[in-house]
């Protein structure tokens, strides 16, 4: 654990067999929200893919980040298109549970 260094936010996406996996790393906060929205915009409305967001390397999320995930989930749900949030670190899962967004992810994952 290296706390003295800033955990810079990064997004990578990978498309294989119709599954687009977007991996988030570092700190997702208000300052990088526009960057994430921009990357996600075309992917979220793409009906030809199953969208997976991998949070394994995500170190931090605030309510702005949770809001973006909720908005993606709503859009995908409305389109009846696949959406999954995977490998959620414990500390972030705790915030998902606390805010109540966890149940929406769970419902979407069971489709």
């Amino acid at each position: 654990m290296n706390m003295s260094r800033n955990e810079k936010f990064n997004v990578t996406s990978h498309l294989e067999d119709g599954i687009c996996t977007v991996a988030l790393s570092g700190e997702l906060d208000l300052s990088v929200a526009p960057e994430l929205r921009q990357v996600m915009e075309p992917l979220v409305v793409d009906e030809t893919i199953d969208l997976v967001i991998n949070l394994k390397e995500l170190k931090y999320i605030d309510s702005t980040g949770i809001g973006i995930l909720l908005s993606i989930l709503k859009t995908r749900h409305g389109m009846n298109s696949g959406f999954l949030v995977e490998e959620v670190p414990d500390q972030i899962q705790k915030l998902f549970d606390m805010t109540g967004i966890a149940k929406f992810f769970a419902a979407e994952n069971s489709h």
Binding site: M1, M3, S4, N6, E27, D29, L30, S31, A33, Y60, D62, S63, T64, I66, G67, L70, S71, L73, K74, H77, Q91, L95, M98, T99, G100, I101, K103, F104, A107
Partner: protein
């Protein structure tokens, strides 16, 4: 640093801009780890203090640039954090229906507004907001250090 009966204080003043909020988190980490808070407790407080700063960034200075001031008060076994700005006051944040979180909501009704405040309350022992029109907002939050022998 030894924790004494005397209150100790760390104050930082930063531009109320999103890219400075991580500096508040780094300072919080420094202060809270010196006091002996656990990694998980510090992660909780990081979210809480960032939400208060986000509020200043988003709502305090709509048309001008301004600063936010973050004060860490170490009062015996308690860390009290104050986030203050001198911007416009707001109603939407603290008084929003979102204070309850999303637990009782359907997906269609789920709104993110107010979640920041909700998280702050859930993650800290005490939170208070003072907001006066045109004179800024002060958010005060605290968390008590639980001695290791009391931990479950």
């Amino acid at each position: 640093m030894t924790v004494t009966d005397e209150a100790q204080k760390v104050v930082i003043s930063l531009p109320a801009k999103a890219e400075y909020v991580d500096i508040v988190r780094l300072n919080l980490y420094g202060v809270a780890s010196k006091m002996g808070f656990s990694f998980e407790e510090i992660e909780d407080m990081k979210v809480a203090v960032s939400e208060a700063c986000n509020n200043s960034v988003l709502y305090a200075y709509k048309h001008d640039q301004g600063n936010m001031e973050v004060t860490f008060d170490i009062i015996a076994d308690e860390l009290q954090i104050t986030v203050r700005d001198e911007g416009e006051s707001f109603d939407a944040w603290g008084k929003a229906a979102g204070r309850t979180g999303l637990h009782d909501k359907d997906l269609e009704d789920a709104q993110i507004g107010g979640l920041g405040f909700y998280l702050m309350q859930a993650l800290m022992d005490n939170v208070s907001v003072e907001s006066e029109s045109g004179r800024g907002t002060k958010v005060v939050m605290s968390r008590r250090l639980i001695p290791s022998e009391e931990r479950v």
